[in-house]
Subunit: 241 residues, 2 copies
DNA sequence: CGACTAGTTGAGGCCAGTCAATGTTGGTGG
DNA sequence: CCACCAACATTGACTGGCCTCAACTAGTCG
């Protein structure tokens, strides 16, 4: 990848970043973009398995995923981990801490990844003079709320096969939005993490993937997945009345 | 209640509102409060069962619950309803729409209630000149994220009895924060709504309430609930490793 | 009082969890 | 390059928790 180490390229990171429209969906003028660039403090690389922040850490800023993917998860008191979300390039992580000044979840890289760090104090200052950024910020928070609401819907009222179908379709849609194939992709997470996210056990996830394959809905080869019959998958997770 | 119809009292609604610290947790100066008052457009009364907004409605503003309580819920395509939250006095509803300009959930009064309306355009204008409000606004969104994350944890990894215990304790804590008893209160919602929120059926909720009573953890009399043994309830929903 | 909604309780079945054995993959070091 | 190991994944047998269906009761409101 073009992971710039040269200073010149760093100077206009955002303006040339292919993930720009995802990070900052509302149109920014060129001068705005120049300002945004001053926001991004540094880019951090994470190796697979490395932790970006932990629950309890003070919130120092937000992070934009530039390359790779992360999971965020919360811990119950007894140590059980519940995956709260998977985050790919162009998405913002760290929002969970903005209510309390500390993070309530932790974020771990699922593969070698790179994130842009946006320190909080710069964010606040910049947001004050820049209504557009302000609006974007709120939009992120609100979008996160919407996302979580659909997860709650899923966990609360869907059966296992419906959840998995919805999960696969969602992943596909997100890859498509990034210019990748929406029907053929590689799972970056383990069966256990998928299960945790969906409120299922890893065995159930594995069994269902096998069954979906047998039924001709998908093809699975380890972590590689091909969605063969998306209408049927949609049918599966949609109406059942 | 002192539901003011006189204009003078309306002029300084927020300054005297007992729910102030809940609505606006970050200290506001007196002049700030005066400004906030200009924010609150009107107070609306809702009879039990009345709808405050529906999914698809354009987002016109936020609502602060002043008296009573509401539920918010989302609809699946097939018409199933999933309760997303219960909201009591001092809480803000309507945040769900801020990502998209339209509401994604609907809000219904569980009892006769009263909400303060905060029109969006005033909110935006005021927030621009008032960093404190700005921060409060973000804080609400972020707090909502945190709340939903714990619901996800609950739905994803707790068993039925754990969920119900957590639910009862949460309700108690919220009543206590409002100056009511935290161990003796009235459920404002039906068993079915509780079940929908917890991802259970109404029968399971009913059975569990009976069982909790048999075990001496609570006392139930229709919608009246007394928490008799909170430590045990906490034990129930906490560690099980 | 009848009609309706909300709630309780029971019987039975199924979906998904648990436990366990085996297979597969990828990384590491000799 | 291969052997080895650990983590990840698959599959089967069994169990049990929760859902479904159903009957019955308790309030509530015209």
């Amino acid at each position: 990848m073009d992971v710039g180490v040269t200073l010149p390229s760093l100077k206009s990171v955002c303006a040339t970043c292919s993930m720009r429209e995802l990070c900052m969906p509302i149109g920014l003028s060129d001068t705005d973009l120049a300002h945004i660039d001053t926001l991004v403090g540094a880019r951090t690389r994470l190796r697979k398995g490395e932790t970006l922040y932990r629950a309890g850490d003070p919130l120092t800023g937000l992070f934009a995923v530039r390359v790779g993917s992360l999971k965020t998860a919360v811990l119950a008191e007894d140590g059980r981990e519940q995956v709260a979300g998977f985050h790919m390039s162009g998405e913002i992580v760290g929002l969970d801490g903005m209510g309390t000044e500390w993070h309530v979840s932790h974020a771990v890289a699922l593969e070698d990844s790179e994130v842009c760090v946006m320190p909080l104090e710069r964010l606040e200052k910049l947001a004050h003079d820049m209504p557009t950024l302000q609006r974007n910020l709120r939009r992120f928070l609100a979008r996160e709320i919407g996302r979580q609401q659909s997860v709650m819907l899923m966990l609360g009222s869907m059966r296992a096969e419906e959840r998995l179908a919805a999960f696969l379709l969602d992943l596909g849609a997100r890859y498509r939005r990034r210019g990748y194939s929406g029907s053929e992709f590689v799972l970056r997470m383990t069966r256990e993490e998928i299960g945790s996210y969906l409120g299922l056990t890893l065995e159930t996830v594995s069994r269902l993937l096998s069954r979906f394959q047998q039924e001709g809905l998908i093809r699975v080869q380890g972590r590689g997945v091909t969605l063969l019959d998306q209408p049927a998958l949609r049918e599966l997770c949609g109406r059942k009345a």
